[in-house]
């Protein structure tokens, strides 16, 4: 997956009896990811009649539709918009909110950092500096409640998934693969590599709201010493995160 611009293939496809999928590519190419983000933002700003739910994914936007909606009419309208987005190649819409999240990297909190840096041909500090400078965006939320897929990191971070699954990384583990970062909300098995840890919890059932991130949010990590990470249960489980409203 490099930055070479692939041909986008905007399609509107049935997704079950109550769903439509607007998809820009089968693979997670950066241009398709950007197009899906733009499409989701446009749909959320002005939901077409008959849509019950709009859910951004990596290269697609999933719409749950009212069973009585005009499926054909909605499909035509969505396809026209998707083709416009694919042709215009607009930049990502500006973020409405930005999170700054303290995290510890390397050592016990990032056992794979050395291997990651070696694979990138960089020092640990150089690799981390690039990651901390990256203005990440929440590309999609899913798998588990509130769990963000963050990206895209610069091309050097196109790291493969590990061939073997790590049986468990802790809650708050920051893992990386395919130019994306996932922050686990709960202890999880993973094939991605762990480079850091945060006490930010994107999902806590008893918190209001339970899921705090939204697709489109901007996010940066700020490095702190492991013993400077707040306890996970402090401050509503936000781990010392700062939230700015930008618009």
């Amino acid at each position: 997956m490099d930055d070479a611009v692939p041909e986008l293939t905007p399609e509107v496809l049935p997704a079950g009896l109550d769903g439509l999928l607007v998809r820009f590519h089968l693979s997670p190419h950066p241009a398709a990811i950007a197009a899906a983000q733009v499409m989701a933002a446009r749909l959320q700003a002005d939901p077409p009649p008959g849509t019950a739910e709009i859910c951004p994914a990596l290269v697609s936007v999933h719409l749950r539709i009212d069973p009585t909606a005009d499926r054909a009419g909605l499909s035509v309208r969505l396809l026209a918009e998707a083709r416009r987005v694919a042709m215009e190649r607009p930049p990502l819409p500006g973020p409405v909110r930005r999170w700054t999240i303290p995290a510890a990297f390397g050592g016990a909190d990032g056992p794979d950092l050395g291997r990651i840096a070696a694979a990138m041909g960089r020092s640990e500090d150089a690799a981390l500096a690039e990651l901390l400078e990256a203005d990440l965006r929440v590309l999609a939320i899913g798998f588990a409640p509130g769990q963000p897929y963050l990206g895209l990191l610069p091309p050097g971070w196109n790291l493969p998934r590990l061939p073997q699954i790590t049986p468990e990384v802790p809650a708050g583990a920051i893992v990386v693969a395919l130019r994306q970062i996932v922050v686990f909300g709960a202890p999880s098995p993973t094939g991605w590599q762990q480079l850091g840890r945060t006490s930010f919890r994107s999902f806590l059932p008893a918190r209001e709201p339970p899921m705090v991130l939204r697709a489109g949010d901007a996010l940066r990590f700020v490095r702190v010493a492991p013993d400077a990470l707040p306890a996970a249960e402090d401050g509503g489980g936000l781990g010392g995160a700062l939230l700015e409203r930008l618009a």
Partner: protein, 347 residues
């Protein structure tokens, strides 16, 4: 008067389930809820409720229960051997459950998920508009001995008890499959072989989904041409995911919201109870239908409820149906011990 349902023993995995909490897909939260939604609809019909209520979902087997206030209960879903103070109870029916009585519900005789629905509804605290336990994300936990589930009062405990002949769906069978956005990743040959294959519901399965075994494998051939790999996408209950080795899983009510495995299609929602109620070892197969066919044969849940309501009849048996009238006790909904076997034979 409200009351509570006391769990004296949990034999199966008992959780509170309703129709789940739709509308949070963008936050990564799936709908969840009952594995056999039709069983909740049937319970609502039996109890004369305008909409399905929360129930105790009993996976594999039931348990031993007591109530602190009189309430009708509906028993639906996978038939289980039920006894009230030792007296056998007909499944797919309503019974009055009084304080001091013991309700014992044994293992499923067919299917997987049985449901115990108190007539006034369960009064436990809702989370995001639903009482459904969502075990994988820590929303509620399975009920255990000593737990007491708060109940709303039965609005009309003296209403005549009803029974319902339900659609058989507890031993596998054919599932209608509609194409999804990733179906074209599979070759025509693989799709044809998949539709011909006979599957067995594997032992591996839970509320997230069930694995299907077959002699053949069904890989998504076109994945090999995707140099950058397949982007993860939104998944939902009924989707049929194919592992890298070509082994299908049918996703259940509590599945994750994003998945990376290609999906060969989706089970028509109408057939999902049959898929999820298939016990390990049951045979399952797929029939691929078009979206237009699916839309034409799909029965919305509101219509299912209206139809189930029309099919309800008094629990008292019509004497014309009963050969050996003398051995039947026709008073007050009390039934003879072998009623259940008679039901089974009649199927």
């Amino acid at each position: 008067m409200s009351g509570k349902l006391i769990i004296h023993a949990a034999q199966g995995v008992l959780t509170v389930q309703d129709l789940g909490r739709p509308g949070h897909l963008a936050q990564g939260l799936g709908r969840g809820g009952a594995m056999d939604r039709l069983a909740l609809i049937e319970a609502a019909a039996l109890l004369g409720q305008p909409a399905p209520l929360a129930a105790i979902e009993m996976a594999g087997a039931g348990g031993t229960f007591e109530v602190s206030a009189p309430t009708r209960i509906a028993l639906t879903g996978a038939p289980m051997r039920a006894q009230l103070d030792g007296r056998p109870l007909l499944w797919a029916a309503v019974h009055l459950f009084r304080p001091g009585q013991r309700l014992r519900i044994g293992p499923a005789e067919a299917g997987v998920y049985g449901y115990l629905t108190p007539a006034g509804g369960i009064a436990s605290e809702a989370w995001l508009g639903s009482r459904a336990a969502h075990l994988t994300i820590g929303i509620s936990a399975p009920l255990a001995a000593g737990d007491a589930v708060p109940l709303h009062a039965d609005p009309s405990p003296q209403d005549p008890a009803l029974r319902l002949d339900v659609a058989p769906r507890f031993a596998g069978g054919e599932l209608r499959l509609i194409d999804g956005p990733q179906t074209p990743l599979f070759s025509d040959e693989t799709l044809a072989a998949f539709a011909q294959a006979r599957f067995t519901r594997a032992v591996q399965g839970n509320r997230q989904g069930i694995r299907l075994d077959a002699a053949a494998r069904f890989p998504a051939e076109a994945l090999r041409q995707l140099t950058a790999g397949l982007a993860s996408d939104i998944i939902g209950p009924g989707d049929v995911q194919m592992t890298g080795e070509g082994v299908p899983y049918v996703l259940g009510a509590e599945c994750q919201t994003i998945g990376g495995y290609p999906r060969i299609g989706a089970v028509l929602p109408d057939d999902l109870p049959r898929a999820m109620q298939a016990p390990p070892g049951a045979g399952l197969g797929f029939r691929r239908i078009t979206l237009d066919e699916a839309l034409a044969c799909h029965v919305p849940e509101a219509q299912l409820l209206a139809e189930a309501r029309r099919r309800c009849r008094p629990l008292l048996r019509d004497p014309r149906e009963v050969g050996d009238l003398a051995s039947h006790n026709l008073i007050g909904g009390v039934i003879r011990g072998d009623e259940h076997e008679m039901e089974e034979r009649a199927r």
